[in-house]
């Protein structure tokens, strides 16, 4: 369990043995309800090949409901590639991420104090199966650990706390632990993020991202002293959020960073051929409980992201998640604005999302543009995978707007000529 940032990363290495008599291809993972609410992703990988030629193969993971689940435990099923015969065993690597699982205590700190948090878990993983042996390693961000629950055998060395090894536990055994440690990494949480991707067939892809950022760590209490903050940055406001890093696609152009009251001048853009990095500072350092809202916008060359399928359909291939590093997004809305006149939109996303369609009017639109809206809650950077939106579009629609403008100007000049040649006066 990696607790070094505010996103909890849990790596499980499971050695599964089929003790039953029939071959099975499903392995159940179970989570207590408190964790299940904060669970962002679950991934399962299996190593293939021998020795040096090992490759990781991703396995399907699906949430499942079991009728006889004790204490509202939630289940995920891992589908193995090859059914496991009776008596055989295999090794599965499971990675899951938890958000909002570290509770700051004390809940309010002054500027000079550092941030201490609680992390609650179980020394034994919750499992519907019999566990033969288990060891838990917990990695804390620093050596400062106030206290941790002792479940023998357990010990602590440096930034690591070791629980176990424990032998032979029945299914659904649970032994709660509580770790109180220092975590000064800023708890950057985007409460709401709306990403709008607008496709223009004239060669540009315009992305606008609206953030509501909050520091979800221990609340700031009392005085904010700029003297102390500027003169001793390491001691003061250690957990404050000074800057964020956004990783944008390469060849990004016209980047802006602003909020409701205007441009924010404190940002830097670094570009190279593989990626662009945008370093943004909020208008003020964010202390616990402080909020900031802002908008990032940028343009991208269309040919990097828009492709044609063999059956004359077009599709957009773009990343889904939030480009900010090390941030949790509570609610993400991705809107893909298709050009006017495009038909039959359909979206392909690698994980379940809520979808619906909208209509948006932009410059010189008559019938409006179709917008594919996708919504998802509780996202982590691991969700930055690609999604596709397929649609059909006739290139002739591109000419509609220039023609409209041209005819409007033509009519204007005709009206001028007519006005100059017609005498409207009554008396003669």
């Amino acid at each position: 369990i990696d607790l070094s940032s505010h996103i909890v990363k849990v790596y499980l290495t499971l050695k599964v043995e089929n003790a039953g008599s029939t071959p099975t291809s499903e392995v159940l993972l179970s989570f207590p309800p408190t964790q299940a609410d904060h669970l962002a992703t679950v991934e399962a990988l299996v190593t293939k090949g021998k020795r040096k030629k090992t490759t990781l193969v991703r396995l399907d993971v699906k949430a499942t409901e079991l009728p006889d689940a004790p204490n509202d435990a939630k289940y995920f099923t891992i589908y193995l590639a090859n059914p496991l015969k009776s008596g055989e065993s295999t090794t599965i690597e499971v990675l899951y991420l938890l958000t909002h699982s570290q509770e700051p205590f004390p809940a309010e700190i002054a500027q000079s104090e550092s941030q201490l948090v609680y992390y609650r878990d179980s020394a034994l993983i919750l499992s519907p199966y019999h566990i033969k042996q288990q060891t838990t390693f917990i990695k804390t961000p620093s050596t400062k650990v106030e206290s941790f629950t002792r479940v023998e055998p357990s010990n602590r060395a440096g930034t690591e706390i070791k629980y176990g090894p424990y032998e032979d536990h029945p299914p659904y055994s649970f032994s709660p632990i509580l770790i109180h440690f220092e975590n000064n990494s800023p708890f950057a949480v985007v409460e709401e993020l709306v990403r709008e991707v607008e496709i223009s067939h004239w060669g540009n892809l315009q992305v606008t991202e609206q953030y509501t950022l909050v520091h979800a760590g221990a609340r700031h209490k009392g005085v904010f002293s700029r003297v102390d903050y500027q003169s001793r940055p390491t001691l003061n406001g250690a957990s404050s959020l000074r800057y964020l890093l956004a990783r944008l696609p390469p060849r990004v152009h016209s980047v802006y960073y602003r909020d409701e009251i205007g441009n924010i001048s404190s940002s830097h853009l670094r570009t190279d051929s593989r990626k662009s990095e945008l370093e943004i500072e909020p208008r003020y350092p964010l202390f616990g409980g402080w909020k900031a809202t802002f908008v990032i916008g940028y343009g991208l060359p269309l040919q990097d992201f828009l492709f044609e399928t063999s059956d004359d359909r077009r599709y957009l291939n773009f990343t889904f998640g939030c480009p900010l590093l090390e941030t949790v997004v509570d609610k993400l809305t991705v809107k893909v604005v298709l050009p006017e006149g495009s038909k039959d939109p359909s979206a392909v996303v690698p994980f379940p999302v809520e979808q619906h369609l909208e209509t948006k009017y932009s410059y010189l639109d008559v019938v409006g543009r179709t917008v594919v809206v996708m919504e998802k809650k509780n996202l982590v950077p691991a969700h930055n995978s690609h999604f596709q939106v397929y649609y059909t579009f006739k290139p002739i629609f591109m000419l509609a707007e220039p023609l409209m403008l041209a005819s409007a100007f033509f009519l204007f000049f005709v009206a001028c000529v007519a006005y100059l040649h017609i005498d409207l006066s009554i008396r003669k």
């Binding site: 009392g222 409701e260 441009n263 924010i264 001048s265 003020y284 402080w290 639109d365």
Partner: protein
């Protein structure tokens, strides 16, 4: 193949324009270019900074415009604003000139209807340049009306880049003046046109122009006093005509009725002393017309003389009695302080410190005349000379407009703006007339040479010119030299205007830019940093106390309630804040608590060397506070009659609240410990500091 060139040349011939058409084409293209130039020369600030609203008052206008777009006109009209003047509130619909906001929203709606996905902020930022462009067109037509189309063109060019006008109409200065100057010039132009033609349609148009002006800016008082004055002058100089009668009466009656529809103005047209001149002139017109009619009916001159005497005496007596009765009964209000301070520049300083405290209400220095008008300052008298040489109803008007507005410009810095169109027009007459005279000289001489050489005999006129030329042998060279001189001056004017616009008038004042140690540009964005912090991290109903300058910005950008703002309608309230700022902390906290303040915002220039901070404005706080509360005495804060903020500052000064806030770590009084306030936020360059008011200690 051989016929091709011939047919082509025929075609070319058929496309060749007649002289008149050529002239029209050149004129229209010059006007188009001037129109574009007037717009783009005002975009320096957008290019250099961003598309944003400048200064203080525009933020209020922007906020109200936002409200108008979101809630519609009726809500806007009935809007009671709880966020300013806490705990009094402000009836916004009844205390503002809605013309600007309605105009911006109208433009916004039209653009939206045409499917231009613009934001209301962009419309607001570009409203002033757009109206400046329109003003150049009006200036052209005005110049054409009073002199000729050449003067009109020159006037359009001069006004397009004149710094006196640019100062109030750069992109982002979303203020009433931006549209009001257009409305002002339009009203004057249409009125002069109405006087020239006697047409009811034009005077109707001027009434509507006046209505627009009334809805946009308090400066409409200038129109309603200048036009009667002009009519009076025409009457005295014996230029009374039926045209004048039609134009003035229609414009006055309709304009007055329309103006009453604006709630902020209401019945002032019949009730306030400032508008009485117009009414007096209106009645005088009727008496004049009546006398004219009687004179026409009576053939006997002696009888008419007697009648005249009786009528004039009785009319004056009736008018005087009516005015006296109105004044005594309080029906007609006396002149306001602002009006007095216009007529007597020293009035404000003695009686109304709040007016005197605003920098733009100071008397104008010579340098700022030079800065804003440049060569126009020299061309203005020359233009007056040309106007007097060719007196007509129209030139009398422009002369009066120029002279009165120049006087007002001398009284108050901001009224340079009102004088600018007149100065541009009169200077344009000077330039146009001079250049025309010179070119006529050059051309006629050329003609003589031509006629002499080719045809052998010239017309009688040119031969007389030729005779005249012989008497002045260097005339042609002199004319050429003078022409070059004029063009040199005009080009200097253009460079000066561009320089002034780019250097002086295009900084938004909310973002400060400076040169860093390595020549790179450093931006101090502290104001917005503080306002945004307030907006995001304070309770929704938090009350912020600051000096009134920042009131509008806090409500617009911070979205929080303020105690006082730039509206300055309640002097006592501002004085209370001034008293709180200039008292000892123990006394101040009583006032602060009584006002239910949660945060105190002060501006501090100590770290960055920013000069217009609260300590600079401190003397005005003392003066305004002392005007209402005699406890506060100005000499207490001075050392030997000098104002000092360092170690030698007066003891009372050192201990007062604002000093603690604004000079927290400065020399003079180091290590200030505050008992009732705590630092809540300070911006990265220390310019804005916000203090939280601690809740009172628990009693046991």
């Amino acid at each position: 193949m051989a016929t091709m060139p011939a047919s082509a040349s025929d075609l070319l011939k058929s496309f060749k324009l007649k002289t008149k058409q050529q002239e029209l084409l050149i004129r229209v293209s010059i006007l188009c270019l001037v129109y574009i130039l007037a717009f783009i020369t005002r975009l320096f600030s957008v290019l250099r900074y961003e598309s944003m609203i400048h200064e203080f008052d525009p933020y209020f206008n922007y906020r109200t415009t936002l409200y108008l777009t979101e809630n519609g006109f009726y809500d806007f009209w009935n809007w009671f604003d709880y966020e300013s003047w806490y705990p009094l509130g402000r009836i916004v619909g009844g205390t503002l000139y809605p013309g600007l906001m309605v105009t911006a929203v109208l433009i916004y709606r039209i653009l939206r209807f045409l499917r231009f996905a613009v934001h209301i902020r962009e419309v607001c930022v570009l409203t002033a340049p757009f109206f400046a462009s329109n003003t150049t067109l009006v200036a052209y037509f005005f110049g054409k009306e009073i002199w000729d189309s050449g003067a009109g063109l020159v006037a359009a060019i001069l006004i397009a880049v004149c710094p006196g006008y640019i100062s109030r109409s750069v992109a982002g200065s979303y203020d009433n003046e931006g549209v009001a100057i257009f409305a002002l010039l339009f009203t004057f132009y249409v009125f002069v046109k109405a006087v020239n033609t006697g047409s009811l349609a034009w005077s109707l148009a001027s009434a509507f122009g006046y209505f627009y002006m009334v809805s946009a800016w308090g400066g409409y008082v200038f129109i309603i006093n200048l036009i009667p004055l002009y009519v009076l002058v025409l009457l005295i100089t014996g230029r009374y005509s039926m045209r004048l009668y039609v134009a003035y009466n229609c414009m006055y009656i309709l304009g007055m009725l329309l103006a009453m529809q604006i709630r902020f103005v209401g019945f002032q047209h019949v009730q306030s002393g400032e508008h009485m001149a117009a009414m007096g002139v209106f009645f005088l017109m009727q008496v004049f017309y009546f006398l004219d009619w009687v004179k026409h009916m009576l053939s006997d001159t002696k009888l008419f003389q007697a009648f005249l005497r009786i009528t004039v005496t009785s009319a004056v007596a009736v008018g005087g009695i009516a005015l006296g009765l109105g004044m005594v009964s309080g029906y007609i209000s006396p002149w306001t302080g602002r009006f007095y301070s216009l007529l007597d520049p020293t009035y404000a300083k003695d009686h109304i410190p709040i007016i005197a405290s605003v920098s733009e209400h100071q008397p104008t220095a010579w340098s700022s005349f030079m800065f804003d008008f440049h060569i126009l300052l020299f061309l203005f008298p020359a233009g007056l000379y040309f106007c007097f040489k060719r007196l007509s109803d129209a030139t009398i008007f422009i002369v009066m407009y120029g002279l009165t507005s120049m006087y007002f410009a001398g009284v108050m810095v901001r009224l340079i703006l009102v004088a600018t169109p007149a100065v541009c027009l009169i200077s344009a007459i000077a330039v146009s007339a001079t250049v025309k005279n010179l070119t006529v000289l050059l051309r006629s001489k050329n003609k003589v040479v031509q006629t002499g050489s080719t045809k052998g005999s010239g017309g009688s006129k040119s031969s007389s010119k030729a005779l005249l030329d012989q008497s002045q042998p260097f005339q042609k060279n002199g004319a050429i030299a003078l022409l070059f001189g004029a063009f040199y001056l005009l080009s200097r004017y253009a460079t000066h205007c561009t320089w002034v616009t780019s250097e002086a008038y295009s900084s938004p004042s909310i973002v400060l830019a400076a040169r860093g140690a390595h020549g790179n540009r450093v931006i101090f964005d502290d104001y917005r940093e503080a306002y945004f912090w307030l907006r995001q991290n304070t309770p929704q109903d938090a009350k912020v106390m600051s000096w009134w300058d920042y009131g509008y910005q806090i409500t617009a950008m911070g979205n929080r309630t303020v105690i006082v703002d730039n509206n300055t309608w309640n002097n006592t309230h501002i004085a209370t804040v001034g008293r709180a700022m200039s008292s000892y902390e123990d006394e101040a906290i009583e006032i602060i608590r009584s006002l239910d303040v949660d945060y105190v915002l002060v501006v501090f220039g100590g770290v960055t060397g920013y000069s217009s901070d609260d300590i600079n404005k401190f003397l005005w706080m003392v003066r305004i506070g002392g005007g209402v509360f005699p406890v506060i005495k100005e000499p207490d804060y001075l050392v030997n009659g000098e104002y000092r903020v360092d170690k030698g500052a007066a003891p009372k000064m050192l201990n007062c609240l604002i000093y603690d806030r604004a000079r927290g770590v400065e020399i003079g009084n180091k290590d200030v410990k505050l008992e009732h306030l705590e630092e809540a936020f300070t911006t990265s360059n220390w310019i804005v500091r916000i203090y939280r008011v601690k809740p009172p200690n628990n009693r046991w």
